[in-house]
Amino acid sequence: MISLKINKALCGAKGKMNLELDLEIKQGEFLAISGESGAGKSTLLRILAGLEKAGGGVVVNGQNWKNVPVQQRQIGFVFQDFGLFENMSVEQNLLFVSNDKVLADELLNITQLSELKRRKPNTLSGGQKQRVALARAFMNRPKILLLDEPLSALNHEMRLKLQKEIVKLHQRFDCTSLMVSHDASDIYRMASRVVVMELGKVIKDGTAKEVFTTDNSLLQGEVLEIQKDKIVILVGQQLVELERLDYEVLKVGDIVSLKTDI
């Protein structure tokens, strides 16, 4: 059980704001944190990790973490810019955390990095680096897993695969996990609970379905192109062509709701 009561003054994108949170996170929960950039999501992860100070308190399993240094928190953290050790190979990046070759090999396998284990980080692509960061985060068998957009640099296929693998590892290590993500697919497939943050405060809290579903018969789409007799709309990752009737008011870039017959 993690109990977070935090207040901290932040300089966000829209000027000064206060991060004010009062969250209870159950043991084993997989919490997704969504919201606009600059809402304080990454700061929340950093405070929990002990990398930033804040007013209020963090209590984990009844223990106040005020004076527990970051080194003793047994955390796995995937940074948005990865933070890999540039002087070490992929494999050394993992073994530096804990000299457990068996676990390292297994994690390299899961993230499909075995072939690349002797390479240095600056020779890898963004997606490969992100997978190294993910594998490394599990090396100290974390009790709390903090993921800052952990799948953002991956292609669709790898993303689907790692969504499942992360949840499996989360269960195996009996982690409590917090994941910052903007991706509804990540959140829906992985998280058991979602909070949406805005300007430093939680504005929604519930399951992915409760938080993201509005009206089941309505689909949201973006107008991509308006032609003479039809318009092209992007719904999710799919293009939909509709006959053009009376769409005089529409312009490219508009967000529209489509009513379905289901």
Binding site: A49, Q71, I75, G76, D81, G83, F85, F96, V97, T123
Partner: protein, 222 residues
Amino acid sequence: MHELLNTLSTLDLAPFALSFKLATITTIILFIIALPLAWQLSQSPSKIKPIIESLVSLPLVLPPSVLGFYLLVAFSSFDLAFTFRGLVIASCFYSLPFMVQPLQGGFESLNKNMIESSYIAGKSKWITLFRVALPNIKPALMTALIITFAHTVGEFGVVLMIGGSIPDETRVASIAIYDLMNNLEYGKAHIYSAIMLLISFVVLLSVYIFNHKQKYFKGVRA
């Protein structure tokens, strides 16, 4: 030509040897002192940091005579004036910023999340320094070591005040040239000066080539 060869063969190289001995010892001592200092400065959000940074940088702006004067006053009760040990201590003060500043700059330019990843992995500040931070600032480390060495070899004012010109004890190359000039031995002064010029150029050239290569290869691999 014959005269030149003659001068060369009778050339006393002891001042150069002394200069390099002084520079080597100073560089080693300063590295040991400056490494933790630069690391702490780079990681600290402390309010007294600007004060420490100013103190470290003072030798850059102070006239050598001011530093020399205070050191002489301090040395008078320790029997250190006009000794080699005294020179080493004076050089450590004089060259301190040349070691601290490149190291601190190197540490500050590192990816913050890389350092934090090491802390999250449970590693202490000192293990992080030696295993993560230091191996990733090789060009800055190279610059710090070589510029400190070269700057100590090139020292004059403080050495003159603290050490005087005692052969094999405090008579380093820069002092020897000054003495030769005063004694109107221009031939020898020419040769000494040319050697200093050449050494200084080669030292600087090696730093710039090394750093250029580091950047170039990093760029190609990335």
